[in-house]
């Protein structure tokens, strides 16, 4: 147990999640080491979102063991305060808050004072390349899609979490913006030695960012587990081969949840 807390930030051991008779997640087991970027890759209905919600602690598993940063994320929900942060598919910025105020939201919840909050929010906005008093004072509707997503990432990172969960965070952006943001986030996460779990259905997102790719098939079983060697991340031949293998693993029965 102690070893898990120190080296593995996430432990899923034979985790089931059922909604009525339907399994959204069945017998899911994997671990994530601290400092790793892991991609959970799968088609629609593969159980990625349910796995994310379980890790977030917003729902309990039906059975099995789930540990996040040494804690049960559902039963010890409040104890994970400041240790875990999430960036979603859509930016989910509060429309009545400026960019700066949105980024400071998590810090405000943590009880950080106004001056320090502002300093840290500005710092994190600069890290995601949003600068200038004018941009910081803008409301979400005045920002571009890419900037909104960057602000959402800054909001998650600003609380200095041990674990960052990215829920399809790049999938609504155009290819160029998505690529730029993925590169920036991966560089930032590695520089800060954070652990990051990327939930995605896009193979290019996963291979470009992650140190390890877990392919999930319905109902959330690990069908393929790939360590991405840093030297091969940009090797076209290797990438093509891996894309073919991953696509094959993903094309399992993904649309229909299993019924007991």
């Amino acid at each position: 147990m102690t070893a898990e807390v120190s080296t593995d930030i996430i432990v899923l051991d034979k985790v089931d999640k059922r909604f009525g008779p339907n399994y959204a997640v069945q017998d899911l087991s994997f671990t994530v080491k601290r400092g790793q970027i892991v991609a959970l890759l799968g088609r629609t209905g593969a159980g990625k979102s349910t796995a994310l919600h379980l890790m977030m602690g917003v729902m309990p598993p039906t059975s099995g063991r789930l540990i996040v940063d040494g804690l049960d994320p559902f039963r010890e929900f409040k104890k994970l305060r400041g240790k875990l942060a999430v960036s979603f598919q859509t930016d989910r910025l509060l429309p009545w808050r400026t960019t700066l105020e949105n980024v400071a939201l998590g810090l405000q919840i943590l009880g950080i004072g106004a001056v320090e909050r502002r300093r840290r929010a500005e710092e994190w906005l600069a890290n995601v390349k949003i600068t200038g008093a004018e941009n910081l004072a803008k409301y979400p509707h005045e920002l571009s899609g890419g900037m909104r997503q960057r602000a959402s990432l800054a909001r998650a990172l600003a609380v200095d979490p041990n674990l960052l969960l990215l829920d399809e965070s790049f999938s609504q952006l155009d290819h160029v913006t998505s690529h730029a943001l993925r590169t920036d986030v991966a560089e930032l996460v590695r520089r800060l030695s954070k652990t990051c779990v990327l939930i995605t259905h896009r193979i290019d997102d996963a291979l470009e960012m992650a140190d390890r790719v877990l392919v999930l098939t319905a109902p959330a079983k690990v069908a393929y587990d790939l360590e991405v060697p840093p030297g091969l991340r940009h090797d076209k031949a290797w990438l093509t081969e891996q894309e073919r293998l991953i696509a094959g693993a993903m094309s399992g029965p993904a649309e229909q949840p299993r019924v007991t």
Partner: protein
């Protein structure tokens, strides 16, 4: 087709611009046209009053000059009654906003209470305003308590139901996002629910303020001896039609000023909302 501006300020409010503020000419031209239209209507009404007053006795329709003099006299000598009415109205609206928000929030957030509170609110909306006025006369000796009680009973359901609907319309995505930071219940209310219901509170205030003004005057007429309603009653009892008309004009002006105040508050508090044009 003329564009229509969906008001950014209040949920669901649609303002046809008819080539107004956001279409051709800009806001200055829009307001100039609005002022001109109002001026034309007022001049037409004054002419109609003048013509009518020449054919009927003064207790039916006094000449406009006499009404104007009565208005000046009321403003000079009875300003305390104007202040009293406005103060009663604002205090009651503010109290109704607070109590209605608490009831609406309790309905939305404390599930077991919802059917009971909803039932109380719905029964309250079914009681005629006149009944509350008569109850107040029986139950309260103090004039201020009577007016306050009447207005509270009439206005609270509007706030309670709108706040309830507002909280239920809160985006699940935003709740989930805030919850990832593990906030306390109080922080959720302060940082998410509170700001989210501000447009609903403003919309309710805008919708009820005219009605609340009329109810205040009516309550004063029926249950107390001070305020604009009571002065209108006194004028009516002495067949002073010029006085009744003067108080009516003062009421309309006061109502417009209060509406302007709410509008200003709305512009300030909801400045983050974009304007949407529908073609």
């Amino acid at each position: 087709m003329e564009p229509t501006v969906i008001s950014p300020k209040t949920p669901g409010a649609v303002i046809p611009t008819a080539g107004g503020a956001s279409a051709k000419g800009g806001p200055v031209r829009f307001w100039a046209r609005e002022l001109l239209a109002n001026a034309v209507v007022i001049v037409a009404l004054v002419i109609a009053m003048e013509v009518w007053s020449r054919h009927v006795p003064p207790f039916i329709m006094p000449p406009p000059q006499r009404t104007f003099n009565a208005m000046i006299s009321a403003l000079q000598n009875d300003y305390i009654h104007i202040a009293l009415t406005i103060a009663r109205l604002l205090v009651a609206v503010f109290a109704a906003l607070l109590i209605g928000t608490l009831i609406g929030a309790a309905m939305a957030l404390i599930r077991p209470l919802e059917p009971y509170l909803r039932s109380i609110v719905v029964i309250d909306t079914g009681v005629p305003a006149l009944s509350w006025m008569l109850f107040a006369i029986f139950w309260f000796e103090q004039a201020e308590a009577r007016v306050f009680f009447i207005l509270l009973m009439i206005l609270v359901p509007f706030y309670a139901l709108n706040v309830f609907d507002g909280i239920r319309a809160l985006s699940r995505d935003l709740v989930e996002m805030v919850e990832t930071f593990r906030p306390s219940r109080l922080q959720v209310l302060r940082l998410l629910v509170g700001p989210h219901i501000v447009p609903y509170l403003l919309m309710t205030t805008k919708a009820i303020i005219g009605y609340a003004t009329r109810m205040t005057v009516f309550a004063e007429l029926v249950s107390v001896s001070s305020g604009m309603g009571a002065r209108m009653g006194a004028a009516q009892s002495t067949f002073a039609m010029d006085g009744v008309l003067a108080w009516t004009i003062i009421l309309v002006i006061a109502n417009l000023l209060i509406q302007g105040l709410v509008q200003g508050l709305e512009s300030l508090l909801l400045r983050y909302r974009p304007e949407v044009e529908v073609r």
